[in-house]
Symmetry: C2
Subunit: 224 residues, 2 copies
Protein backbone atom coordinates (compact mmCIF):
# COMPACT_ATOMS: atom_id res chain seq x y z
CA UNK A 1 0.00 0.00 0.00
CA UNK A 2 1.08 3.57 -0.77
CA UNK A 3 1.74 5.42 2.50
CA UNK A 4 0.57 8.87 1.27
CA UNK A 5 -2.61 7.43 -0.17
CA UNK A 6 -3.40 5.54 3.05
CA UNK A 7 -2.78 8.65 5.11
CA UNK A 8 -5.10 10.64 2.81
CA UNK A 9 -7.85 7.98 2.98
CA UNK A 10 -7.62 7.67 6.77
CA UNK A 11 -7.71 11.45 7.22
CA UNK A 12 -10.70 11.80 4.90
CA UNK A 13 -12.41 8.98 6.74
CA UNK A 14 -11.77 10.53 10.15
CA UNK A 15 -13.03 13.90 8.87
CA UNK A 16 -16.16 12.25 7.54
CA UNK A 17 -16.77 10.44 10.83
CA UNK A 18 -16.32 13.70 12.75
CA UNK A 19 -18.78 15.49 10.46
CA UNK A 20 -21.31 12.69 10.77
CA UNK A 21 -20.94 12.79 14.53
CA UNK A 22 -21.42 16.53 14.71
CA UNK A 23 -24.42 16.34 12.37
CA UNK A 24 -25.93 13.70 14.63
CA UNK A 25 -25.39 15.92 17.64
CA UNK A 26 -27.17 18.79 15.89
CA UNK A 27 -30.09 16.53 15.00
CA UNK A 28 -30.39 15.30 18.57
CA UNK A 29 -30.29 18.86 19.88
CA UNK A 30 -33.03 20.02 17.45
CA UNK A 31 -35.13 17.05 18.38
CA UNK A 32 -34.78 17.82 22.09
CA UNK A 33 -35.63 21.47 21.47
CA UNK A 34 -38.88 20.52 19.68
CA UNK A 35 -39.79 17.83 22.18
CA UNK A 36 -39.27 20.05 25.16
CA UNK A 37 -42.19 22.32 24.19
CA UNK A 38 -45.21 21.03 26.05
CA UNK A 39 -48.60 21.71 24.51
CA UNK A 40 -51.51 22.58 26.80
CA UNK A 41 -54.16 19.90 26.15
CA UNK A 42 -57.94 20.40 26.34
CA UNK A 43 -60.86 18.07 25.68
CA UNK A 44 -63.78 19.44 23.66
CA UNK A 45 -67.22 18.23 24.71
CA UNK A 46 -69.93 17.87 22.07
CA UNK A 47 -71.13 21.31 20.96
CA UNK A 48 -73.03 23.23 18.34
CA UNK A 49 -72.08 26.26 16.24
CA UNK A 50 -75.12 27.97 14.71
CA UNK A 51 -75.52 30.37 11.80
CA UNK A 52 -77.22 33.65 12.69
CA UNK A 53 -80.28 32.49 10.74
CA UNK A 54 -80.52 29.16 12.64
CA UNK A 55 -79.85 30.86 15.99
CA UNK A 56 -82.71 33.31 15.35
CA UNK A 57 -85.03 30.53 14.08
CA UNK A 58 -84.52 28.69 17.41
CA UNK A 59 -84.27 31.61 19.86
CA UNK A 60 -85.54 34.80 18.22
CA UNK A 61 -83.33 37.89 18.47
CA UNK A 62 -79.73 36.58 18.78
CA UNK A 63 -78.58 39.92 20.26
CA UNK A 64 -80.54 39.13 23.42
CA UNK A 65 -78.84 35.77 24.12
CA UNK A 66 -76.68 35.69 27.24
CA UNK A 67 -73.03 34.60 27.43
CA UNK A 68 -72.30 31.87 29.98
CA UNK A 69 -68.49 31.92 29.73
CA UNK A 70 -65.53 32.83 27.57
CA UNK A 71 -63.52 29.97 25.98
CA UNK A 72 -59.73 29.55 25.79
CA UNK A 73 -59.64 30.63 22.12
CA UNK A 74 -59.82 34.46 21.97
CA UNK A 75 -63.28 35.81 20.98
CA UNK A 76 -64.99 32.43 21.40
CA UNK A 77 -67.71 31.98 24.02
CA UNK A 78 -70.50 29.71 25.19
CA UNK A 79 -74.12 30.94 25.23
CA UNK A 80 -76.38 30.59 28.27
CA UNK A 81 -78.88 28.64 26.16
CA UNK A 82 -78.49 24.96 25.38
CA UNK A 83 -80.10 22.62 22.83
CA UNK A 84 -81.05 18.95 22.47
CA UNK A 85 -79.80 16.75 19.63
CA UNK A 86 -82.50 14.39 18.32
CA UNK A 87 -81.29 11.40 16.28
CA UNK A 88 -82.97 8.33 14.79
CA UNK A 89 -81.77 6.08 17.67
CA UNK A 90 -81.55 8.44 20.64
CA UNK A 91 -81.30 11.98 21.96
CA UNK A 92 -78.55 13.93 23.73
CA UNK A 93 -79.86 16.78 25.85
CA UNK A 94 -78.24 19.90 27.23
CA UNK A 95 -75.63 20.50 24.50
CA UNK A 96 -73.60 23.73 24.58
CA UNK A 97 -73.91 26.36 21.82
CA UNK A 98 -70.67 28.21 21.02
CA UNK A 99 -70.48 31.70 19.61
CA UNK A 100 -70.05 33.92 17.72
CA UNK A 101 -72.45 32.79 14.97
CA UNK A 102 -70.78 31.16 11.95
CA UNK A 103 -71.62 31.19 8.26
CA UNK A 104 -72.83 27.56 8.48
CA UNK A 105 -74.29 25.62 11.42
CA UNK A 106 -72.00 22.79 12.58
CA UNK A 107 -72.49 20.05 15.20
CA UNK A 108 -69.32 18.47 16.65
CA UNK A 109 -69.84 15.11 18.39
CA UNK A 110 -67.74 12.08 19.32
CA UNK A 111 -68.13 8.58 17.83
CA UNK A 112 -69.67 7.57 21.20
CA UNK A 113 -72.32 10.29 20.71
CA UNK A 114 -72.82 9.21 17.07
CA UNK A 115 -73.71 5.70 18.28
CA UNK A 116 -76.15 7.09 20.87
CA UNK A 117 -77.85 9.31 18.26
CA UNK A 118 -77.73 6.73 15.46
CA UNK A 119 -75.91 8.91 12.92
CA UNK A 120 -72.71 8.26 10.89
CA UNK A 121 -70.78 11.54 10.72
CA UNK A 122 -67.48 11.79 8.81
CA UNK A 123 -64.15 12.68 10.49
CA UNK A 124 -63.48 16.25 9.27
CA UNK A 125 -61.61 19.47 9.94
CA UNK A 126 -63.86 22.06 11.57
CA UNK A 127 -65.56 24.17 8.87
CA UNK A 128 -65.37 21.45 6.19
CA UNK A 129 -68.93 20.08 6.01
CA UNK A 130 -68.53 18.09 2.76
CA UNK A 131 -70.12 14.69 3.40
CA UNK A 132 -71.46 15.69 6.82
CA UNK A 133 -74.83 14.34 7.96
CA UNK A 134 -78.07 15.86 9.27
CA UNK A 135 -79.65 16.04 12.74
CA UNK A 136 -82.61 17.63 14.49
CA UNK A 137 -81.68 20.44 16.91
CA UNK A 138 -84.43 21.17 19.42
CA UNK A 139 -84.95 23.75 22.15
CA UNK A 140 -87.98 21.85 23.42
CA UNK A 141 -90.16 24.61 21.97
CA UNK A 142 -88.83 24.66 18.41
CA UNK A 143 -87.02 22.09 16.24
CA UNK A 144 -84.57 22.83 13.44
CA UNK A 145 -84.10 20.18 10.72
CA UNK A 146 -80.42 20.47 9.86
CA UNK A 147 -79.82 18.64 6.55
CA UNK A 148 -76.02 18.63 7.05
CA UNK A 149 -73.40 19.86 9.54
CA UNK A 150 -72.72 16.91 11.88
CA UNK A 151 -69.03 15.90 12.00
CA UNK A 152 -66.50 14.24 14.29
CA UNK A 153 -63.81 16.94 14.48
CA UNK A 154 -60.21 15.99 13.68
CA UNK A 155 -57.84 16.53 16.59
CA UNK A 156 -55.83 19.72 16.09
CA UNK A 157 -53.45 22.22 17.66
CA UNK A 158 -54.20 25.96 17.67
CA UNK A 159 -51.10 28.17 17.65
CA UNK A 160 -49.76 31.58 16.64
CA UNK A 161 -47.18 32.18 13.88
CA UNK A 162 -44.54 32.48 16.58
CA UNK A 163 -45.48 29.12 18.17
CA UNK A 164 -45.34 27.52 14.68
CA UNK A 165 -41.87 28.97 14.08
CA UNK A 166 -40.59 27.67 17.44
CA UNK A 167 -42.03 24.20 16.74
CA UNK A 168 -40.89 24.15 13.10
CA UNK A 169 -44.38 23.39 11.76
CA UNK A 170 -46.75 25.01 9.25
CA UNK A 171 -50.49 25.66 8.98
CA UNK A 172 -52.30 22.62 7.55
CA UNK A 173 -49.46 20.20 8.38
CA UNK A 174 -50.27 16.99 10.28
CA UNK A 175 -48.01 15.86 13.13
CA UNK A 176 -47.85 13.01 15.65
CA UNK A 177 -48.36 14.00 19.28
CA UNK A 178 -47.49 12.05 22.40
CA UNK A 179 -50.08 12.29 25.18
CA UNK A 180 -48.14 12.08 28.45
CA UNK A 181 -50.73 10.45 30.71
CA UNK A 182 -51.03 7.22 32.70
CA UNK A 183 -52.56 5.68 29.53
CA UNK A 184 -50.03 7.13 27.09
CA UNK A 185 -50.44 7.13 23.32
CA UNK A 186 -49.06 8.83 20.24
CA UNK A 187 -51.95 10.34 18.28
CA UNK A 188 -51.14 10.60 14.57
CA UNK A 189 -52.59 12.98 11.97
CA UNK A 190 -52.96 15.94 14.35
CA UNK A 191 -53.75 19.04 12.29
CA UNK A 192 -51.72 22.25 12.83
CA UNK A 193 -53.92 25.39 12.71
CA UNK A 194 -51.98 28.67 12.72
CA UNK A 195 -53.46 32.12 13.31
CA UNK A 196 -52.37 35.05 15.42
CA UNK A 197 -55.95 35.01 16.80
CA UNK A 198 -55.32 31.60 18.37
CA UNK A 199 -54.14 30.66 21.84
CA UNK A 200 -51.65 27.74 22.00
CA UNK A 201 -53.74 24.64 22.77
CA UNK A 202 -54.37 21.10 21.50
CA UNK A 203 -57.99 19.96 21.24
CA UNK A 204 -59.11 16.33 21.43
CA UNK A 205 -62.63 14.99 21.93
CA UNK A 206 -63.90 13.01 24.92
CA UNK A 207 -63.27 9.62 23.25
CA UNK A 208 -59.63 10.58 22.74
CA UNK A 209 -59.49 12.05 26.25
CA UNK A 210 -60.88 8.89 27.86
CA UNK A 211 -58.74 6.58 25.71
CA UNK A 212 -55.65 8.38 27.05
CA UNK A 213 -57.00 8.83 30.63
CA UNK A 214 -56.86 12.62 30.20
CA UNK A 215 -57.01 14.71 33.35
CA UNK A 216 -56.82 18.54 33.46
CA UNK A 217 -53.12 19.39 33.28
CA UNK A 218 -52.16 16.40 31.09
CA UNK A 219 -49.44 17.55 28.69
CA UNK A 220 -48.75 16.71 25.06
CA UNK A 221 -45.60 16.90 22.91
CA UNK A 222 -45.03 16.81 19.15
CA UNK A 223 -42.89 13.74 18.42
CA UNK A 224 -42.55 14.19 14.62
CA UNK B 1 3.32 6.96 9.84
CA UNK B 2 4.25 3.30 9.95
CA UNK B 3 2.82 1.59 6.85
CA UNK B 4 2.19 -1.80 8.52
CA UNK B 5 0.43 -0.17 11.46
CA UNK B 6 -1.77 1.94 9.20
CA UNK B 7 -2.68 -1.12 7.12
CA UNK B 8 -3.58 -3.00 10.33
CA UNK B 9 -5.72 -0.12 11.65
CA UNK B 10 -7.50 0.34 8.32
CA UNK B 11 -8.19 -3.40 8.01
CA UNK B 12 -9.50 -3.61 11.56
CA UNK B 13 -11.65 -0.58 10.93
CA UNK B 14 -13.08 -2.00 7.69
CA UNK B 15 -13.77 -5.31 9.47
CA UNK B 16 -15.55 -3.49 12.26
CA UNK B 17 -17.64 -1.48 9.79
CA UNK B 18 -18.61 -4.66 7.96
CA UNK B 19 -19.64 -6.31 11.23
CA UNK B 20 -21.67 -3.28 12.28
CA UNK B 21 -23.32 -3.21 8.88
CA UNK B 22 -24.22 -6.90 9.00
CA UNK B 23 -25.54 -6.51 12.56
CA UNK B 24 -27.67 -3.62 11.41
CA UNK B 25 -29.04 -5.71 8.56
CA UNK B 26 -30.03 -8.47 11.00
CA UNK B 27 -31.77 -5.94 13.24
CA UNK B 28 -33.67 -4.43 10.32
CA UNK B 29 -34.76 -7.89 9.15
CA UNK B 30 -36.02 -8.85 12.62
CA UNK B 31 -37.83 -5.55 12.93
CA UNK B 32 -39.56 -6.09 9.59
CA UNK B 33 -40.51 -9.63 10.58
CA UNK B 34 -42.14 -8.39 13.80
CA UNK B 35 -43.91 -5.50 12.11
CA UNK B 36 -45.37 -7.64 9.39
CA UNK B 37 -47.49 -9.68 11.85
CA UNK B 38 -50.93 -8.10 11.99
CA UNK B 39 -52.85 -8.53 15.22
CA UNK B 40 -56.63 -9.10 15.04
CA UNK B 41 -58.20 -6.24 17.03
CA UNK B 42 -61.42 -6.44 19.05
CA UNK B 43 -63.25 -3.88 21.20
CA UNK B 44 -64.58 -5.06 24.57
CA UNK B 45 -67.89 -3.55 25.64
CA UNK B 46 -68.55 -3.02 29.36
CA UNK B 47 -69.15 -6.39 31.05
CA UNK B 48 -69.34 -8.20 34.36
CA UNK B 49 -67.60 -11.36 35.61
CA UNK B 50 -69.34 -12.85 38.63
CA UNK B 51 -68.18 -15.25 41.33
CA UNK B 52 -70.33 -18.39 41.68
CA UNK B 53 -71.62 -17.01 44.97
CA UNK B 54 -72.65 -13.63 43.48
CA UNK B 55 -74.16 -15.32 40.40
CA UNK B 56 -76.33 -17.54 42.64
CA UNK B 57 -77.26 -14.61 44.92
CA UNK B 58 -78.61 -12.75 41.86
CA UNK B 59 -80.05 -15.63 39.79
CA UNK B 60 -80.40 -18.74 41.95
CA UNK B 61 -78.95 -21.99 40.57
CA UNK B 62 -76.10 -20.96 38.22
CA UNK B 63 -76.29 -24.34 36.44
CA UNK B 64 -79.63 -23.33 34.96
CA UNK B 65 -78.39 -20.12 33.33
CA UNK B 66 -78.44 -20.13 29.52
CA UNK B 67 -75.48 -19.33 27.24
CA UNK B 68 -76.14 -16.61 24.67
CA UNK B 69 -72.90 -16.96 22.67
CA UNK B 70 -69.31 -18.17 22.77
CA UNK B 71 -66.54 -15.53 22.81
CA UNK B 72 -63.32 -15.41 20.79
CA UNK B 73 -61.21 -16.58 23.77
CA UNK B 74 -61.57 -20.40 24.11
CA UNK B 75 -63.92 -21.49 26.95
CA UNK B 76 -65.30 -17.96 27.50
CA UNK B 77 -68.97 -17.24 26.89
CA UNK B 78 -71.75 -14.73 27.47
CA UNK B 79 -74.81 -15.64 29.56
CA UNK B 80 -78.39 -15.04 28.35
CA UNK B 81 -79.03 -12.96 31.45
CA UNK B 82 -77.97 -9.33 31.78
CA UNK B 83 -77.63 -6.92 34.71
CA UNK B 84 -77.92 -3.20 35.45
CA UNK B 85 -75.10 -1.16 36.99
CA UNK B 86 -76.35 1.37 39.56
CA UNK B 87 -73.96 4.19 40.45
CA UNK B 88 -74.21 7.37 42.54
CA UNK B 89 -74.73 9.57 39.45
CA UNK B 90 -76.44 7.27 36.95
CA UNK B 91 -77.27 3.75 35.81
CA UNK B 92 -76.20 1.64 32.85
CA UNK B 93 -78.71 -1.07 31.94
CA UNK B 94 -78.44 -4.27 29.96
CA UNK B 95 -74.79 -5.13 30.73
CA UNK B 96 -73.43 -8.52 29.58
CA UNK B 97 -72.31 -11.19 32.09
CA UNK B 98 -69.36 -13.30 30.94
CA UNK B 99 -68.67 -16.84 32.08
CA UNK B 100 -67.42 -19.11 33.43
CA UNK B 101 -67.70 -17.88 37.04
CA UNK B 102 -64.48 -16.44 38.51
CA UNK B 103 -63.05 -16.50 42.02
CA UNK B 104 -63.87 -12.77 42.41
CA UNK B 105 -66.58 -10.64 40.80
CA UNK B 106 -65.17 -7.98 38.46
CA UNK B 107 -66.84 -5.16 36.52
CA UNK B 108 -64.97 -3.80 33.47
CA UNK B 109 -66.14 -0.38 32.25
CA UNK B 110 -64.73 2.50 30.21
CA UNK B 111 -63.91 5.98 31.55
CA UNK B 112 -67.00 7.18 29.64
CA UNK B 113 -69.10 4.68 31.64
CA UNK B 114 -67.34 5.71 34.87
CA UNK B 115 -68.47 9.31 34.29
CA UNK B 116 -72.06 8.19 33.63
CA UNK B 117 -72.12 6.07 36.79
CA UNK B 118 -70.22 8.54 38.95
CA UNK B 119 -67.44 6.16 40.04
CA UNK B 120 -63.63 6.50 39.86
CA UNK B 121 -62.21 3.08 38.97
CA UNK B 122 -58.44 2.51 38.62
CA UNK B 123 -56.77 1.40 35.37
CA UNK B 124 -55.81 -2.24 36.09
CA UNK B 125 -54.92 -5.59 34.55
CA UNK B 126 -57.90 -7.95 34.59
CA UNK B 127 -57.90 -9.98 37.84
CA UNK B 128 -56.00 -7.33 39.82
CA UNK B 129 -58.67 -5.69 41.98
CA UNK B 130 -56.33 -3.82 44.36
CA UNK B 131 -57.70 -0.28 44.64
CA UNK B 132 -60.85 -1.10 42.66
CA UNK B 133 -64.14 0.56 43.62
CA UNK B 134 -67.65 -0.67 44.44
CA UNK B 135 -70.95 -0.63 42.53
CA UNK B 136 -74.50 -1.94 42.83
CA UNK B 137 -75.35 -4.75 40.40
CA UNK B 138 -79.09 -5.21 39.95
CA UNK B 139 -81.30 -7.68 38.07
CA UNK B 140 -84.33 -5.50 38.75
CA UNK B 141 -85.49 -8.14 41.25
CA UNK B 142 -82.38 -8.37 43.39
CA UNK B 143 -79.46 -6.00 44.05
CA UNK B 144 -75.89 -7.00 44.96
CA UNK B 145 -73.75 -4.45 46.85
CA UNK B 146 -70.27 -5.05 45.45
CA UNK B 147 -67.73 -3.36 47.75
CA UNK B 148 -64.93 -3.64 45.17
CA UNK B 149 -64.33 -5.02 41.67
CA UNK B 150 -64.88 -2.08 39.28
CA UNK B 151 -61.87 -1.37 37.03
CA UNK B 152 -60.99 0.13 33.67
CA UNK B 153 -59.13 -2.78 32.04
CA UNK B 154 -55.67 -2.13 30.60
CA UNK B 155 -55.45 -2.80 26.87
CA UNK B 156 -53.77 -6.15 26.20
CA UNK B 157 -52.94 -8.81 23.63
CA UNK B 158 -53.86 -12.49 24.16
CA UNK B 159 -51.50 -14.94 22.46
CA UNK B 160 -50.10 -18.47 22.60
CA UNK B 161 -46.48 -19.36 23.41
CA UNK B 162 -45.88 -19.80 19.68
CA UNK B 163 -47.28 -16.35 18.85
CA UNK B 164 -45.05 -14.85 21.57
CA UNK B 165 -41.98 -16.58 20.12
CA UNK B 166 -42.75 -15.32 16.60
CA UNK B 167 -43.27 -11.77 17.89
CA UNK B 168 -40.25 -11.89 20.22
CA UNK B 169 -42.27 -10.88 23.30
CA UNK B 170 -42.88 -12.36 26.75
CA UNK B 171 -45.83 -12.70 29.15
CA UNK B 172 -46.23 -9.54 31.26
CA UNK B 173 -44.20 -7.35 28.88
CA UNK B 174 -45.69 -4.05 27.70
CA UNK B 175 -45.41 -3.03 24.05
CA UNK B 176 -46.49 -0.15 21.81
CA UNK B 177 -49.05 -1.00 19.16
CA UNK B 178 -49.98 0.96 16.05
CA UNK B 179 -53.71 1.00 15.27
CA UNK B 180 -53.99 1.13 11.48
CA UNK B 181 -57.26 3.01 11.07
CA UNK B 182 -58.41 6.31 9.54
CA UNK B 183 -57.71 7.89 12.96
CA UNK B 184 -54.36 6.19 13.55
CA UNK B 185 -52.52 6.12 16.88
CA UNK B 186 -49.76 4.24 18.65
CA UNK B 187 -51.11 2.93 21.95
CA UNK B 188 -48.35 2.51 24.52
CA UNK B 189 -48.24 0.18 27.55
CA UNK B 190 -50.13 -2.68 25.88
CA UNK B 191 -49.85 -5.76 28.11
CA UNK B 192 -48.75 -9.11 26.60
CA UNK B 193 -50.74 -12.05 28.04
CA UNK B 194 -49.43 -15.48 27.02
CA UNK B 195 -51.25 -18.79 27.48
CA UNK B 196 -51.81 -21.76 25.19
CA UNK B 197 -55.51 -21.41 26.11
CA UNK B 198 -55.64 -18.01 24.39
CA UNK B 199 -56.57 -17.08 20.85
CA UNK B 200 -54.41 -14.36 19.20
CA UNK B 201 -56.29 -11.08 19.67
CA UNK B 202 -55.79 -7.53 20.97
CA UNK B 203 -58.51 -6.10 23.23
CA UNK B 204 -59.24 -2.40 23.63
CA UNK B 205 -62.30 -0.76 25.20
CA UNK B 206 -64.87 1.39 23.43
CA UNK B 207 -63.13 4.66 24.36
CA UNK B 208 -59.95 3.41 22.71
CA UNK B 209 -61.99 2.02 19.79
CA UNK B 210 -63.78 5.32 19.20
CA UNK B 211 -60.60 7.40 19.67
CA UNK B 212 -59.01 5.38 16.83
CA UNK B 213 -62.20 5.13 14.70
CA UNK B 214 -62.15 1.34 15.07
CA UNK B 215 -64.24 -0.66 12.62
CA UNK B 216 -64.45 -4.48 12.53
CA UNK B 217 -61.41 -5.63 10.56
CA UNK B 218 -59.13 -2.79 11.75
CA UNK B 219 -55.63 -4.22 12.17
CA UNK B 220 -52.91 -3.53 14.73
CA UNK B 221 -49.13 -4.04 14.68
CA UNK B 222 -46.49 -4.07 17.42
CA UNK B 223 -44.09 -1.20 16.69
CA UNK B 224 -41.65 -1.75 19.62
Amino acid sequence: MNEALIEKVVKEFIDEMRNTESLQKVEVKESIAKDSIEIPLETSARHVHLSKEDLEFLFGDSEELGVRKKLSQPGQFQYDERVNLIGPKGNINNVAILGPARSQSQVEISYTDARTLGVQPPLKDSGDLEGSVGIIISTGKKALNLSKGVIVAKRHIHMTEEDARKLGVKNGQEVSVKIKSRRPAILEGVLIRVSDNYSFSMHIDHDEGNATAYLPGTKAEIVK
